[in-house]
């Protein structure tokens, strides 16, 4: 079976300055030869620091911006060959939701107008049935249908993100790009949106590209992870494999930087020194060499390719000259239990009463729910 989305060697350089004649004199190498694929019903996470190119990749994948080079195939079709009409058709298949739901919704449109627009644009639902469909969409994202007449300012951040998700779902897409969808939300709201995204994926068979810098969230939601540094992917692996044994020194640094909700956790810390180099003037050779604790002369001279290993590592390609000789990752993320047994029970009781999935614990001294 072919992948839903396949990107090969995508390149995007933005001019940073121009000369008198409008010719670019310096370039930001935002994306420099990125290849990846997303399967049907799968979540691929793109992770990395600010400026690593993860958002640019997500916009390239939708052709919201045009790549300078490379190829993009969606559902077997060449995306870059589509003309304007066909591109509009493609927008039915792939949607995006953004970090800031305050900015993503037009404040002068009511929810029913916001959700009705894609339905009308793509002539999906006849006008007579639109209201019913809008109510259905609201229910799908856990909002009450009677809220359709309200305006974005009347909602909280989490509710607005739900509206943005409903708008993306209106066209029944196969792929949704989630660009930091929960970064602006509070912890308890964040978990609601993550649960919703997971639930929608199970029910509708959606694929997600999940762009995030929060690795704990990525661990929770993604099937596979691609780690990006300065415009290139340095490692891709199944989520479990990456978190169990990150190969690339940069992935290790990212994982060791996750604050663990466990006081006095014993872990190997790998705090990167120095600054993120600029994509305007990326370092020679391996772009991570200026911050890498394992750097050797070879790294400064030649850029490593993203290369798959053998055996177990066949689906775990890494772009590092020294991948084979690095010490084992060790206790970057200790797995010695998370919650105490008492807390585990309390959390289960807390969510079972909220209608969550983790039921099975009774709360003593409380009348049974109707």
């Amino acid at each position: 079976m072919t992948a839903l989305l396949e990107a090969e060697n995508l390149v995007k350089h933005f001019p940073a300055s121009r000369n008198l004649f409008g010719r670019p004199t310096s370039l930001v190498r935002a994306v420099d030869g990125v290849s990846f694929h997303v399967d049907r019903g799968e979540t691929l996470a793109l992770v990395g620091e600010s400026g690593c190119g993860k958002s640019t990749v997500s916009r390239l994948a939708l052709r919201l911006i045009e790549p300078d080079a490379g190829s993009l195939r969606f559902d077997g079709r060449d995306l870059l060959a589509l003309d304007a009409d066909e591109l509009r058709g493609f927008r039915r298949q792939a949607q995006i939701i953004f970090q800031d739901p305050y900015a993503a919704l037009n404040p002068r449109m009511s929810v029913s107008q916001i959700l009705g627009e894609p339905l009308a644009l793509h002539e999906l639902v006849p006008p007579s049935r639109r209201r019913a469909r809008i109510e259905e969409l609201l229910r799908l994202v856990g909002l009450e249908p009677r809220l359709a007449r309200r305006y974005p300012h009347e909602f909280s951040g989490g509710q607005r993100q739900r509206i943005a998700i409903a708008r993306a779902l209106a066209v029944e897409p196969k792929l949704i790009i989630c660009d930091e969808p929960v970064s602006a939300l509070d912890v308890s709201i964040r978990s609601q949106i993550l649960n919703l995204l997971r639930d929608l994926q199970d029910r509708l068979g959606l694929s997600y590209i999940f762009v995030s810098h929060d690795l704990a969230v990525v661990k929770h939601i993604a099937d596979r992870v691609a780690v990006m540094n300065l415009g290139g992917i340095v490692e891709t692996a199944a989520t479990e494999a990456l978190f169990a044994s990150p190969h690339h020194p940069y992935s290790r640094a990212l994982l060791s930087a996750i604050p663990l909700p466990k006081p006095q956790a014993k872990r190997t810390r790998m705090v990167l020194q120095g600054e993120l180099p600029s994509a305007l003037d990326p370092p020679s050779g391996c772009r991570f060499h200026t911050r890498c604790p394992f750097v050797i002369e070879h790294c400064r001279a030649e850029a490593p390719d993203l290369r798959a290993g053998t055996g177990d590592a066949i689906n775990h390609p890494v772009a590092c000259h020294r991948a084979a000789e690095l010490p084992p990752a060790g206790a970057i993320l200790p797995f010695d239990g998370g919650f105490s047994p008492a807390l585990e029970k309390l959390v289960a009781a807390f969510s079972s009463e909220q209608g969550g999935a983790a039921g099975g614990v009774d709360i003593i001294g409380r009348p049974a729910a109707e």
Partner: protein, 329 residues
């Protein structure tokens, strides 16, 4: 034997008066104490009053819109009774604060050196040359490479992580007794966050300043703090040593917060959520403010405000159903 705490907050209450005559209870009867050299995490979600509490300590709330009552004793002063002159002498000196967004806290038209030197001269006096030397030393202490060159840079030339280091250097300029850090790493990338947290751990081990770390991230608290106070709707709902809080939380809100964090140790299908909304703080409920969202709530919870009571020594919870262990079988 017991020395008095460095800062002791009692019955702190902040009311905001809106133009329409409505009052909002931003902070309500907050009691807190931080010992010399200790690190307290103040945790809660947007609007819970954690930042307002810190602004009240610093005396930065506008007298026109905010009504502050209670007492804040710091190092022999009552900060709420102190005059503007006293506060000006304390702020940046014995009492320092860093904010979430370092760019908007630094003046873009002065070099970082000027901004550090200004603080030193204002509070310590001495020669400009000595102050500059001290500024270079401070930049080194917060691990800014080649500080003697960087000192003459303008803020826009520095990255976000560097700017936050400069802010910390300014805060440390006069060896504060108390450093308030309001979401100091929220705007930063994980790798930079790790650097700043490492720096805060260093400051802690060197002794000296007590730290109040305000954050919404329980992970950050676990990494840096000794004690934690959890705030909800303007009140402290739980206070405990950091180990205690993470192993045996005694307020349902804390349980909900911990449960809603994505797990790193195993893959959960669903995360805990806290349904419902924060109560309207113009008319806070009579009983427990969390009761409407609480799965453990019983009738008594909505009848009277629960007190912040000790469940075990040094572990207090504002929940009449605590200890929570006996609620689950």
């Amino acid at each position: 034997m017991n020395a008095p705490p460095l800062i002791e907050i009692q019955r702190l209450r902040v009311l905001f008066r809106g133009d329409d005559g409505r009052t909002t209870h931003a902070v309500d009867s907050v009691d807190l104490a931080v010992d010399h050299g200790a690190t307290l995490g103040l945790v809660g979600e947007s609007g819970c009053g954690k930042s307002v509490t810190s602004l009240a300590i610093m005396g930065l709330l506008s007298k026109r819109s905010a009504e502050v009552s209670g007492s804040i004793r710091f190092d022999g002063f009552d900060l709420l009774q102190a005059g503007d002159q006293t506060l000006r002498d304390l702020r940046g000196n014995r009492l320092a604060m860093i904010f979430q967004e370092p760019m908007s806290s630094l003046n873009p038209s002065f070099t970082i050196g000027d901004q550090i030197v200004e603080t030193i001269l204002r509070h310590r006096g001495g020669s400009a040359r000595a102050a500059r030397q001290r500024a270079i030393q401070l930049l080194g202490r917060v691990h800014i490479p080649s500080p003697e060159k960087r000192i003459d840079e303008f803020p826009h030339r520095l990255s976000g992580g560097m700017r936050q280091r400069v802010m910390i250097a300014i805060a440390l300029a006069c060896d504060p007794r108390l450093l308030i850090a309001d979401e100091p790493t929220t705007a930063l990338d994980v790798t930079l966050q790790a650097q700043i947290l490492e720096l805060m751990r260093e400051l802690k081990s060197e002794g000296g300043a007590a730290i109040i770390l305000i954050t919404h991230d329980l992970g950050v608290v676990a990494e840096v703090c000794d004690e934690v106070a959890v705030m909800y709707a303007g009140e402290i709902v739980e206070r405990a040593a950091v180990d205690e809080l993470f192993s045996s939380p005694q307020h349902p809100y804390t349980v909900g917060l911990l449960g809603s964090m994505p797990r790193l140790d195993r893959r959960a299908q669903q995360l805990a959520t806290i349904d419902g909304m924060v109560p309207n703080m113009a008319r806070p409920p009579i009983g427990c403010r969390f009761a409407a969202r609480c799965p453990f709530a019983v009738d008594a919870c909505t009848k009277a405000p629960p007190p912040l009571a000790e469940v075990s020594p040094r572990h207090a919870s504002r929940c009449i159903r605590a200890p929570l262990e006996r609620l689950v079988s």
